[in-house]
């Protein structure tokens, strides 16, 4: 309740108006993503961590399918006792979500009985299952890679007859497009197959630490949990290796600041043996480590390093320069390991009884068991698989271009996936019938209109939350991933107090205090704008921004908890970070001087 006795509420979904000039955005998304009148009675928050930009029509699949998979595992497969799945809605292109809790005690007990059996099986066999999981994922990735997008020649190949295949190429348009979507769905199911159980283990340990050490910062608990060898650091490590090799082979002169990837590759080919050897090393790194998204794997324009070598090549000159100066680029893994060991030992010693120490060992042991999956799944799923997925869909776009339906392969991402299927049917029919597809007149205006609408939607500042303020938020997953607690909601719903307008409060994610010039980046593709020593302010920071973390002084994000990517990476790089501020990108302007206090979770605008 607020001071005037009225129940506190954020803007209601029904009160949100269409962004001027973006009317009709609804046509980009399925009907089941629309806010309903009764949704005004529920609490929603903007999932800016995964979806910091308005969704192109196709990209909405990166909400739909993950939430199908997540909910299947929590609600129906493992039968989590206290939580069902997540529902999502789209308004003005932004994805809002809400979690469905289970509150009835008898129902919780009924679910718990099943959960114990099923989750117990996975925990008990975790290491074997994770080994098999990796094989399954690589298998899915290879299936996706092998998948052919038909080219529709004038006459089908002879072997359709000589091998009595009995199926025309146009059949494979349908089958293979379905397979791309199916594989994406399978990947997301596997993504959540073990992940929520992993978070369950984290929750237990965080809960224990909150009770045993009520005033200890979450980031300290996170440091005890985090592993040192994490796949997500590997691509960046490969860049460092390539920088070293460049110096060894004497081709480092090519990696000057602002070098162009294409030119460098060209020059290397003219450098004889040394150039060839470096390129061979590059190829080694590219498979699979350059299947790294420049984002978080939720947008088609987040290309992989393999798709766009300019990202890794932008980082190389700096590493070459650092090595020449004799600086070490190695992550201080030994020191990190020792420090983590010391912290764990000393916290353990503070416990009062042997019983507590044994429970602590069990819980932390469980966290260390699940950590590799929780952290490494991102490389397999969001990066490797997903960048290939978008690449495949783009190939279908190229097919539509070749058949005159679309003007540009990338336009395919402005159609919903069911609309793509419809456009492909048009192409298939025309090829078979010997006529012309009718899609150009139908789809091109739609694509143009949606591109225009999307631009307008980018101007909107979505409220961080909608609907009534919930009486309490105690879901540790919401806190760990999205940084959402009763306190953050309180601060989101309260206007800045006089004298505090220049302070933005979030989670202290990584310790240290620095001052510097802010660079506000709403879009990962603008990553190149970042200058040495600036402070990155973004809706969310993805692990693939690794190379940028070598450049910046500190990181601030709108969304994210202590176990969010930004927090983990920032701690790893020893940069101060404040995450989950809700509004940093709205209140801070590029060029402003700010102070980031990663000890207290406060960002202050200094001018």
């Amino acid at each position: 309740m607020s001071a005037d006795g009225k129940p506190r509420s954020f803007t209601l979904p029904s009160q949100i108006e269409d962004v001027p000039g973006a009317e009709g955005w609804q046509s980009m998304y399925p009907y089941y993503t629309r806010f309903q009148p009764e949704d005004d009675h529920r609490f929603w928050f903007y999932n800016a961590m995964h979806f910091p930009e308005p969704m192109p029509a196709f990209d909405a699949i990166t909400a739909e399918i993950p939430y199908e998979a997540l909910g299947a595992f929590t609600t129906r497969i493992f039968v989590f006792p206290t939580t069902l799945g997540i529902e999502h809605r789209i308004v003005n292109g932004r994805i809002y979500i809400t979690a469905n809790p289970v509150l009835e005690p008898a129902e919780i007990q009924r679910r718990l009985a099943i959960f114990q059996e099923r989750a117990g099986y996975y925990y008990e066999n975790w290491e074997r299952l994770f080994r098999e999981w990796k094989v399954r994922l690589e298998n899915l990735i290879h299936q996706l890679e092998a998948l052919k997008v038909p080219s529709l020649p004038e006459f089908d190949e002879a072997e359709v007859v000589t091998k009595a295949k009995g199926l025309g190429q146009n059949h494979y348009i349908r089958e293979n497009f379905h397979r791309v979507i199916e594989l994406f769905s399978k990947m997301w199911h596997h993504h959540f197959e073990m992940l929520m159980l992993g978070y369950g283990a984290y929750m237990v340990f965080f809960d224990f630490c909150k009770k045993a050490f009520p005033e200890t910062a979450d980031q300290t608990v996170a440091r005890m949990v985090a592993g040192i060898e994490v796949l997500m650091f590997r691509p960046d490590d490969e860049l460092k290796r390539l920088a070293k090799v460049a110096i060894e082979y004497g081709v480092d002169d090519l990696f000057a600041a602002d070098c162009d990837a294409k030119n460098v590759l060209e020059e290397l080919r003219n450098r004889g043996d040394a150039g060839r050897r470096w390129l061979a090393e590059l190829d080694k790194s590219r498979e699979p480590w350059f299947h790294m998204s420049t984002g978080d794997g939720f947008y088609h324009h987040h290309l992989s390093w393999n798709d766009d070598l300019s990202v890794p090549f932008a980082a190389l000159p700096r590493y070459v320069e650092q090595l020449r100066r004799g600086e070490s680029l190695e992550r201080p893994t030994e020191r990190l390991r020792e420090e983590r060991g010391r912290i764990i030992t000393e916290y353990r010693e503070l416990l009062r009884s042997e019983d507590e120490r044994q429970a602590f060992d069990q819980m932390l042991g469980l966290c260390h068991l699940v950590f590799p999956l929780v952290e490494n799944h991102k490389f397999y799923c969001e990066h490797w698989f997903t960048t290939l997925f978008f690449k495949k869909v783009r190939e279908f776009g190229a097919l539509l271009v070749a058949n005159g339906v679309l003007a540009d392969a990338g336009d395919v991402f402005h159609l919903q996936y069911v609309e793509i299927e419809s456009a492909l049917a048009d192409v298939s029919l025309a090829w078979a019938g010997g006529g012309k597809p009718l899609g150009a007149a139908h789809w091109r205006p739609i694509v143009e209109e949606r591109k225009r609408v999307l631009e307008r939607l980018k101007e909107w500042n979505p409220p961080p939350a909608l609907g009534p303020l919930p009486p309490a938020i105690n879901d540790p997953a919401l806190q760990m991933l999205w940084g959402i607690t009763s306190e953050t909601l309180e601060s989101w719903s309260t206007p800045a107090e006089p004298g505090h307008e220049k302070e933005i409060v979030g989670f202290a994610a990584s310790p240290g205090v620095v001052e510097g010039v802010a660079r506000v980046l709403r879009n990962v593709n603008d990553i190149g704008q970042i200058r040495d020593g600036e402070i990155l302010v973004s809706p969310v920071t993805a692990p693939s921004w690794g190379p940028v973390f070598g450049k910046i002084k500190a990181a601030v994000s709108d969304i994210g908890g202590t176990m969010s990517h930004a927090a983990i990476v920032a701690r790893e790089y020893g940069l101060p970070a404040v995450v989950g501020t809700g509004q940093a990108t709205q209140r801070i302007k590029t060029g402003q001087r700010i102070r980031v206090d990663g000890n207290r979770g406060i960002v202050r605008i200094l001018e």
Binding site: I108, G120, Y123, M203, T216, Y347, R352, D355, N599
Partner: protein, 363 residues
């Protein structure tokens, strides 16, 4: 004569916690801290032997003790009479020459040790009871502390005042009620250099709010510590991770009052803090971390959580300015420690079931 002196007064460096019977709790604790290598304002303790020496000088026949032991606990009038008479005798009597000599030597030496020969720094005179802490609080009169005492005569006068407090009405009645023996009743008196503190405060190696043993909570305000202790000021509050050293929270309060030594003479002035300082943080990060390091050392030394009084001297070089004034074992949370936060389970993942299911998993 020299040997005698050693027994009458002992320097902090010569005493430890086990000397409580001869120097009292406060003195023993200060000695213990000094011996552990912590920076304590230099000082000495006038021992119980000195007290006995004084008492036998003014009452060789032992009539004071005998008289009190014969008092009825409910004979209030008689208690009042003794409680007026004896302290008056104490305060009027001159000190035996060897005792006076011992105090003089140590008092002079106190200034030599500070490197300012000839300057008579103010000192604090504190009674240091030999009985257990728990009894202290009800043992009225034994808590006497006199701050900013200047000059030898005044020092001796206040030592006598401390001794005399053993025989004030409340103390006498208290002992009679409990039928405590008078024989062997004695106290130590601490003579200690005063620290003119720029800021001072208390720190807890266990959070007073939650009992968390992984943090050090530091409270700080301007001037002498008496302003915090008396509750006249809301101090700045810092919570620092004991293991990581990170500053978890930092609350800067508006500090309206501070206590300062009276430059013109003796005693303490209670004044308004200058406006520019009221909302300023008392500690910088370096000082804060120095204090936390001290807190950890003290706790390690005693092997249990401590409540520590500290001060940062105005007139000392950085690196030599942080002093420990006092350390006591933490009692509030130690008494409450009960149920463990968690117990081991058959399988580690049974903990997940407990948390998510809201009840303990089957064993």
């Amino acid at each position: 004569m020299q040997l005698m002196n050693l027994d009458l007064i002992r320097h902090f460096a010569e005493i430890g916690i086990h000397d409580r019977p001869t120097v009292g709790g406060k003195g023993a604790s200060l000695g213990e801290l000094a011996r552990a290598g912590l920076r304590v304002p230099p000082g000495c303790v006038v021992t119980t032997a000195a007290f006995e020496r004084f008492l036998s000088a003014i009452d060789p026949a032992g009539s004071i003790r005998r008289q009190i032991e014969q008092l009825e606990a409910n004979d209030r009038a008689a208690c009042m009479r003794i409680g007026a008479e004896v302290p008056a005798r104490f305060e009027a009597a001159t000190l035996p020459e060897d005792l006076r000599e011992a105090i003089t030597v140590h008092y002079e030496e106190l200034h030599e040790r500070t490197g300012r020969r000839g300057v008579r720094e103010p000192v604090a005179i504190r009674s240091s009871a030999t009985c257990e802490d728990s009894a202290d609080s009800s043992f009225a009169g034994l808590q006497d502390t006199y701050l900013w005492v200047r000059g030898l005569d005044s020092v001796i006068e206040h030592v006598r005042k401390c001794w005399a407090s053993l025989y004030n009405v409340e103390s006498v009645m208290y002992r009679r009620r409990l039928k405590l023996p008078e024989r062997g009743l004695a106290m130590g008196v601490v003579i200690q250099r005063m620290i003119d503190s720029r800021c001072s405060g208390v720190m807890f190696t266990r959070s007073p709010n939650t009992g968390d043993r992984s943090v050090v909570v530091v409270e700080a305000s301007w001037g002498l510590g008496s302003a915090i202790v008396s509750g006249e000021v809301t101090p700045d509050k810092y919570v620092v991770g004991k293991i990581t050293g990170e500053v978890i929270s930092r609350t800067i309060s508006t500090k309206m009052r501070h206590h300062r030594p009276n430059a013109a003479g003796a005693g303490v002035l209670d004044e308004e803090v200058p406006a520019y300082q009221q909302n300023a943080a008392c500690l910088n990060d370096h000082e804060l971390h120095t204090l936390v390091d001290i807190a950890k050392r003290v706790e390690r030394h005693y092997g249990c959580p401590q409540d520590i009084e500290w001060a940062i001297a105005r007139d000392h070089a950085p690196g030599e300015s942080v002093f420990v004034l006092q350390s006591r074992p933490e009692t509030a949370w130690s008494a409450k420690d009960a149920a463990p936060v968690a117990a081991p389970k058959i399988k580690p993942f049974d903990h997940v079931f407990s948390l998510l299911g809201g009840r303990s998993a089957k064993k």
